[in-house]
Amino acid sequence: MAHSKLADDAILAAFRRSVVAVVPEIAAAKVTLDRTLAELGCNSIDRADIVTMTMAELGIIVPVPEFGRDRTMGSLVALLRKYA
């Protein structure tokens, strides 16, 4: 697949761009692997938009039920890597 070797840092960078686009008040540097989007101040709609925008940027499709709740950024990055 086109993204099979997608590095975790590239996925995290895409997440950071999505977070800042959706909630400009959040500094990109605050988006670290140990935090959840909720902890960063993203509401449920923000979180859904951020995940979808990031998938769109990277050309990845993760089935919605896979996301569950309260995943850390590290867990989200791993999930997208799995479907890359």
């Binding site: 959706v22 909630v23 400009p24 008040e25 709609i45 859904a48 938009d49 979808t52 925008m53 998938m55 769109a56 499709i61």
Partner: protein, 416 residues
């Protein structure tokens, strides 16, 4: 309200092509400036319109310097990713909120209601997302699940303003604005609320909707059609939103806030007609009934803000109705159509025109019918190419819509 006492209009807000707040809008009305302009040839829509060009939520929020920082921050946080119609409606509501001093001299949040006028408000946004859907359905923005609903306006505005009373949208095609004013009035009159924000929302039509209106002949496609002029050839679309704060007289007195005008009467009737054609009988009935409700006589009316879209059949029908209610040319009230200046703001039109009416009552002038060179004969007492310095005292504002909607609201200067 049959006594004619009326509800207080304590707050005003407007964002349209003639001005992005009330005072520039009032200055534009007085000058008779037309915001109707030739649109880019590649727009795919009609040749003329009154678009709200360059609107920015950030600028609109920054302009509301009288509001607390908390409201302004919340407005930006909650609405920065909203479709443009929601942002424009919010800007109008913020101005009205500030103008009614609801941030300083407060009414309990649960005693404030919110009624939003309009339907199919974000159809252009939906249309634009269709391409993304066809490319990859998985990437459709989840937020659209909220944004596809017209009630997203209610949710967003209530979130920003902290309103917890009753709230809903109402629709009546091009009469939606007046329908909402009537619904909001009833909430306050019934005691369900002390005040109601009535918001006329910007209806952003899709290219498909625009073309259908053009193909029907309702919208002027190639000409800058002028309401009531013999050359009229359909309406010219305008973009705008507006907000009125309607408040019980007791609440306005208790808060010691300025009363811009009184809403003294209203009426709505259907024609039992699913089509687009107007009906003289329904139009006469709502003008007569609104006056009856206000406890006033036709001869007391100094001014009518006509529905006046520029539709040949619509204009002719409204003139006949006005002549039946008020008598022939020279005898009746002054008549103008704000649509000559701002275009037809569709869902928002009734509220935009109510704000225009209040401003004219307040400032003692009646705006020109800009571009009206060849009025029909017999006609009405149309304002000419210059504003009339008139303290009209009592005014009617008409709103009619496809599907047989007829509405009229009566507004009076305080003490008139």
């Amino acid at each position: 309200m049959r006594s004619g006492a009326g509800l207080a209009v304590t707050g005003l807000g407007v964002v349209c092509a003639l001005g992005e707040s009330v005072e520039p809008f009032a200055a534009g009305l007085l000058a008779g400036s037309s915001a109707i302009t030739e649109l880019p040839a590649d727009s795919g829509g009609p040749r003329y319109g009154a678009p709200l060009a360059g609107f920015s939520l950030a600028d609109a929020v920054a302009a509301r310097t009288g509001l607390p920082d908390g409201i302004r921050r919340t407005a930006t946080r909650v609405a920065s990713r909203s479709p443009r119609p929601v942002q424009v409606a919010l800007a109008a509501a913020l101005e009205a909120w500030e103008s009614a001093c609801l941030h300083e001299n407060r009414i309990p949040a649960h005693r404030i209601a919110l009624v939003v006028a309009g339907h199919n408000l974000t159809s252009r946004h939906s249309h634009e997302l269709a391409a993304r859907f066809h490319a990859s359905p998985a990437y459709v923005p989840p937020r659209f699940a909220l944004q596809m609903l017209d009630t997203d306006h209610v949710g967003t505005l209530s979130h920003v303003l902290g309103v917890t009373g009753e709230g809903f949208t109402v629709g009546g095609a091009s009469a939606s604005g007046n329908v909402a004013i009537i619904a909001g009035s009833r909430l306050v009159e019934s005691g369900a609320a002390d005040a109601c924000l009535v918001v006329g929302a910007l209806a952003e039509l899709s290219p498909v909707g625009l073309r259908a209106l053009g193909n029907l002949g309702a919208m002027a496609w190639d000409v800058a059609s002028v309401p009531f002029d013999e050359s009229h050839a359909g309406f010219v679309a305008g973009e705008g939103a507006a907000c009125l704060v309607l408040e019980s007289a007791a609440s306005a007195r208790h808060r010691a806030v300025a009363v811009h005008a009184l809403l003294t009467g209203y009426a709505q009737r259907l024609d039992a007609n699913s089509l687009a054609n107007p009906a003289e009988e329904g139009e006469v009935t709502v003008m007569v009934n609104a006056l009856q409700r206000a406890g006033r006589k036709p001869r007391e009316v100094g001014y009518v803000n006509a529905h006046g879209t520029g539709s040949p059949l619509g204009d002719r029908t409204e003139i006949r109705a006005l002549r039946r209610v008020f008598g022939g040319q020279g005898q009746g009230p002054w008549v103008n159509s704000t649509k000559a200046l701002v275009g037809h703001c569709l869902s928002a039109a009734g509220v935009v025109e109510a704000v225009a009416t209040v401003v004219q009552l307040r400032d003692g002038f009646l705006h020109p019918n800009t571009g009206l060179r060849r009025p029909p004969s017999p006609g009405c007492r149309f304002v000419g190419q210059h504003a009339e310095q008139v303290r009209a005292g009592l005014a009617l504002s008409n709103g009619f819509g496809f599907g047989g909607f007829n509405t009229c609201v009566a507004l009076a200067a305080p003490g008139a």
